[in-house]
Structure formats: structure tokens, C-alpha cells
């Protein structure tokens, strides 16, 4: 626990902490719970029931006003002109050179009002600089909005009980508004897992405990528990973690996110020209299986080498998958070695191991 107020807490912190969070990481200058029972038990539970996640650290940048759409489009190569109210877009953001600055979910929450729901970087500063430097007619700020994850196969049932069938039946990456103790708030079908679920964009600094308790009470018989994003589940499924698997040093093409980049027509994205030049990457993210028994914990990237011993990339995330009984990993691999079936060597802290490039991540059934 930090010895200062520099690291902030969400409106769900007290409840989530009381539910037994055993570790924390810092994310967007806030506390994010690490695990509750154990990483593996949390993972099994996520895949079979439903969890509440204090992901208040997924901060929003709110952009509103006449130039809001223009400003948002300056930051992302995804064509967001067609985004309608009630819809979410996964929208990687880039600097003028095409380096990734974040990979937010973009929500259009009003005619001229957007939320960029952030991964771990101060995109607020980037956005403010563009708005202020160019004199755009927008307001840019970080509102008091803290997402609460409702994740797992029984999330639909829980949402149905609390907010009814209409809420429970919204489509993927769509949102509706639900009544949270007298205030309408955004409920989206989204979240950092492949198990299905929702994110409630809780507004305000008070009352997080009330909705937490209501959800817990409503789901007691379906074993709702406190949880947090599972490293095991996300690596299996190839859910990328910004700053872990890709950084400002990488383009969206290198991160395998080319399908989110509109290159066929001019947009006002500052990186349009740069990304046109970089559309054929020489390295890209790949699923890689690491041979042998449970690999050690990865806390710094592990170098990948080809059979001649030459460096060909890095494993950035690696974990033992209980369900697939192997070490699953996410790697950035050079082009000459990224074909599925390529055999490489990874240097783990415990020594070298065989590593096999795969065609698909695991668990995307």
C-alpha cells in the first residue's frame, strides 16, 4: 500500500479491499487489485461464474463541444465518424509518427460528447495539448467516472436480475443507460476478458459501495465474487495490455491492430501519412507457446532468438495456463520468424527454452 495520497482509490476500493484483495498494482495513478484467492482460483472462477472488478483505474478522457469529433479523430487511425450514440469502438490512439499512445475504448455519450476509456497512460495530457495548442472549440477533462467490471459467463444473469432484460440483451460494444440508485449511468457490453460481461461507468465519488452491495446481494446464489482482470485469461486469449505488449515504440500494425486503421482515405488523424509508410510492419505480435513445465514469472521481457542465436524479438507476457496445460505467451516477433510453426528459443531467467510460434491464441472459442 502506498505511503501517500499520490495513488488514488476508486469508489469501489473499500468494498473490493474488504472482499480480500491480496495485492495491488498501480494503473493510471490508481490502485487496481491484483488477485483475491489466488491467480489460478480467480481464473477458474471468472470462467465459470461472475465477478465484480474495481477497474475504476480505467479513467475517462471526456472530449465535448463542436470540435470534439475532430479532436478524437486526430488521435486515432480508426474512422470514428460513423460512431453513433450508444456505441463503443476499440480505438488505438497514436502520436504523429504512428507510435501507440494508448488503446482506449471510445464511447459516444452525447451528440458532441465522447469518452476515451483508457489503458495505462495519461492520454488526457495529449488531448489537452492538441486542444490548447490548436485552439480547438472543445472541453477536455477527466470526469469522476469509474468503471465497474461485471465479467464472466453468469454476468448476463446478474445484469438481468438487477436491471432487467433490456439491459441484459444489449449487443457487444453497445451501451444503454441504467438506473443506479436514482442516476442514469452507462452500462456497456465490454470488458477486459473473453468470458462475456459488462462495464458500468459509475459516475461520482460516492455510492460505489451501494451498487456493489446490490450486485453482490442479487448474485449470491450464482456465486458472484470480487475479482480483477486475470493475467492468465487475458494472455490465453491474446488480449493485449498497453505498455506490456506494445508501447509508443510500436505502431498499431505491429500490435496486430491494422484492421482498426483506416488507410484508404484521408482522415484528420495526425499519423495518417506516417502510418501509410509503416503499413507493412517488420515485426508483429504473435501467440507463442513456451515449452516445458511452468515457466518462471515474467517481470521483464524475455529475448527470443532463432536457431542461429540471433535476436528475433521478445516475449512480453507469459503465464502457465491451467486449462491448456502449457505456457502461453504474447510476443513481438520479427517478420522472418513470425510464421506459425517457427521454432525459436526464449531466454527465461531460469535458462533457455524452446518456443513455438502459433497461429491462434488460446481460448477464443
Amino acid at each position: 500500500m502506498p505511503f501517500s495520497a499520490r495513488v488514488r482509490r476508486s469508489p469501489f476500493f473499500e468494498r473490493s479491499h474488504a472482499a480480500g484483495a491480496k495485492s495491488y498494482v498501480v494503473y493510471n495513478h490508481m490502485l487496481l487489485p491484483g488477485y483475491f484467492t489466488s491467480h489460478e482460483e480467480d481464473y477458474h472462477h471468472l470462467k465459470s461464474a461472475v465477478q465484480l472488478w474495481d477497474v475504476g483505474c480505467e479513467r475517462q478522457v471526456e472530449v465535448s463541444g463542436p470540435d470534439a469529433l475532430r479532436l478524437v479523430q486526430m488521435m486515432t487511425p480508426r474512422d470514428v465518424t460513423g460512431l453513433t450514440e450508444g456505441q463503443c469502438y476499440y480505438s488505438p490512439t497514436v502520436d504523429a509518427d504512428g507510435g501507440m499512445t494508448n488503446d482506449p475504448v471510445l464511447l459516444r455519450v452525447g451528440p458532441e460528447r465522447y469518452w476515451l476509456s483508457l489503458s495505462d497512460s495519461d492520454l488526457l495530457l495529449y488531448c489537452k495539448a492538441l486542444a490548447g495548442g490548436l485552439g480547438l472549440d472543445v472541453r477536455v477533462h477527466e470526469p469522476h467516472v469509474a468503471p465497474l467490471g461485471i465479467q464472466g459467463p453468469k454476468a448476463d444473469e446478474l445484469v438481468r436480475r438487477v436491471w432487467g432484460e433490456d439491459a441484459a440483451s444489449i449487443g457487444f460494444f453497445r451501451f444503454c443507460r441504467v438506473d443506479v440508485n436514482g442516476t442514469l449511468m452507462v452500462l456497456a457490453r465490454s470488458g477486459f476478458s473473453l468470458q462475456g460481461g459488462y462495464e458500468l461507468y459509475f459516475e461520482g465519488l460516492e455510492g460505489g459501495d451501494l451498487i456493489w452491495d446490490q450486485l453482490m446481494d442479487a448474485g449470491r446464489d450464482i456465486d458472484v465474487r470480487a475479482g480483477s482482470p486475470s493475467q492468465i485469461e487475458r494472455i490465453e486469449g491474446g488480449l493485449l495490455s498497453y505498455l506490456t505488449d506494445m508501447t509508443q515504440e510500436h505502431t498499431p500494425f505491429e500490435a496486430g491492430l491494422g484492421k482498426f486503421c483506416t488507410m484508404d482515405r484521408e482522415t484528420c488523424c495526425l499519423a495518417h501519412a506516417a502510418l501509410l509508410r509503416k503499413a507493412e510492419p517488420v515485426r508483429q505480435i504473435r501467440p507463442v507457446e513456451v515449452a516445458g513445465a511452468r515457466a518462471p514469472m515474467l517481470v521483464q521481457p524475455w529475448p527470443l532468438r532463432d536457431r542461429r542465436g540471433l535476436p528475433v524479438g521478445w516475449i512480453t507476457s507469459c503465464v502457465w495456463s491451467p486449462d491448456f496445460a502449457r505456457n502461453v505467451s504474447i510476443a513481438m516477433v520479427d517478420r522472418a520468424n513470425w510464421e506459425p510453426g517457427t521454432e525459436l528459443v526464449v531466454e527465461t531467467p531460469d535458462g533457455p527454452r524452446s518456443a513455438l510460434v502459433k497461429s491462434e491464441f488460446w481460448g477464443r472459442t
Copy 2:
């Protein structure tokens, strides 16, 4: 310890960790050691000997090229046109509304080359947005530069032994270049303590252990130890912590940093007009003494109230000072109550206590 590579480590991490770091905080997406023996023993040692601090988390934003000075000046209200090579300026940075975005030390490391040595925010993103959005003729990037703090009253002696009298006699907020195993690197008389000392701006990813060992060997008889910024010492002395004591919600005037704001002539700082309007703050940082025995640990700001019970501000940092035998604190106090001698009430987690506004921080002898 984080369960991912998202949080980075400096070239001094292995040595500092082996020296017994007992906790870590995350700062600029990197690990910063919390304490070694105990917060209080570390504090006494810092005030009597010399410590090496792994403050590699003080990241640099490097701005270079023909428009470098212009870009830097757009971000700070301090007039930096007179900054010469070999000099450092404490330069609060602000957004277009005058809200603080960081409070870096600015170093001019070449004719058209600057380093902004950061506190805890991604100012790199702000800087890149201005450069890219306005098409400035600059390069903006984060170089592999990790500061190593050499802090304490015996820091001069240690630097003299390793780099000679010329290095040891540089003036406050000046820097020279010293030989670090074959490479010239910046050594500045600066650091996040009031005990005197230096910061070595170590360049590269390898070799941090070598210079660490050399400094440790050279200072063995003067009791050099591993350490880290002391919360006790910095609160006593009123050294502000960005995101703890002031945020984007505050102007430099509110943070008591008006003397670093040039308002008498037009600069290209984007916030010039906004800061002119805000030059008379209605709240400002003050030293506040909290009555009674050792106060609980502050992990979220504590509300301050006047005698009628009305809210008048917040204590943002508070700690028991062994040397002054009282609870010293940093607070943001409304104008009607900021005069020294004003008696307030602070709501601590353990209940209300008397709080007294002071005229000076402690330990600035």
C-alpha cells in the same frame, strides 16, 4: 512486485533491490523503492551520511531541434530563454488553462537540446501532441537516461572521491559532465531532499551496477547506503510531490510557485492569458501542524474545517517528524484561513484533531 512487464525497472534496480528495498511504489510506470531499514531509520541516515537512490523513474523528455526552446517555453510559465548549458531550472509545466501538468527540472544539455526531468505524469505525451499538432521542427522522445541520486551531507565527500574537486564544487542547480566508465554523463547538484547532494543522469540500459558498486566502495567508511526519497524529510521541508500536493486542478500560484511564473511580459507559454487571470489564488499550499501524538498514515487527503465546521481545504501529506517531535503536514488551504496562526480542525481516519497553519516548513535551516 508486479506480475507483468508493464512496470519497468531502472539500470540500478538489481543493486538497489539487493541492498534491501522493503517496498516499492510505481512512479512514471517504473518501480521506485519505498524504504530500506525503516522510514525513520532511513530518514536519520539521510540527514547524517550519504545515500544512493534509484530514482531512474525520474524520466527525461528530450526536446531537440530548431524549435526546441519554443516548445519548452510553450509548456512552462517560467521564462527559460536565459537558461544556459550547464544550468537547471525548476520549471512547473501547465496546460492552456494554467493547470499543472508536471513540475520538472529543466536541463539545457546542448545548444538546441533540453531534458525535462519529470515527476509523475506522462508529459512526453503532452510534448508530442504540441510538436505533432503544430508541426514544430523538433524531435521529442524519452531517452534511456536514469537518474541516480547521491543525497545527504556527505554527498560532497563521496563525489570528490569519485570524480574530483571540480565535480564536487559545482553550484546549486548547475551541472557538469563526469566520466562514468568511459562515457561522459551529466552530474547535477540537485535532488529531492534538503540535505544536499547530486543527481547523476546515467545514460544507457547497462552498467548501472558498475557505477553503483564504485560509489558504494568509495564511500564505505563514510557509511554510504542505499536509500530513496524520504517522505518524512520532504514533508518537513515542504518539498512538494506532484499528484500528491498539487495536480492538474491547481495552478502554480496555488502551489506557491508564483515566483517561477513570468507574468510581466508576453511569453509563448500557452497558459499566459489564463495565468494572468488566476494570479491571485483563492487557495494555496501551507505548512500545517497537526496536534497530538503520531497521526495515522495518510493515504487519501484529509478534509480541513474551520471552527464553524465549514470545509476550508485538505491536508495532502502528513507524517510524524522524529526531529521536530510533531506531525508535520502540507495542506491546500482557502484564503480566508491561510494566515499563519489560524486554528483549524482536520478529520483524520481516527477522528478530528486540531491543526495549526504555520508560516514556514520545518527543517529549512
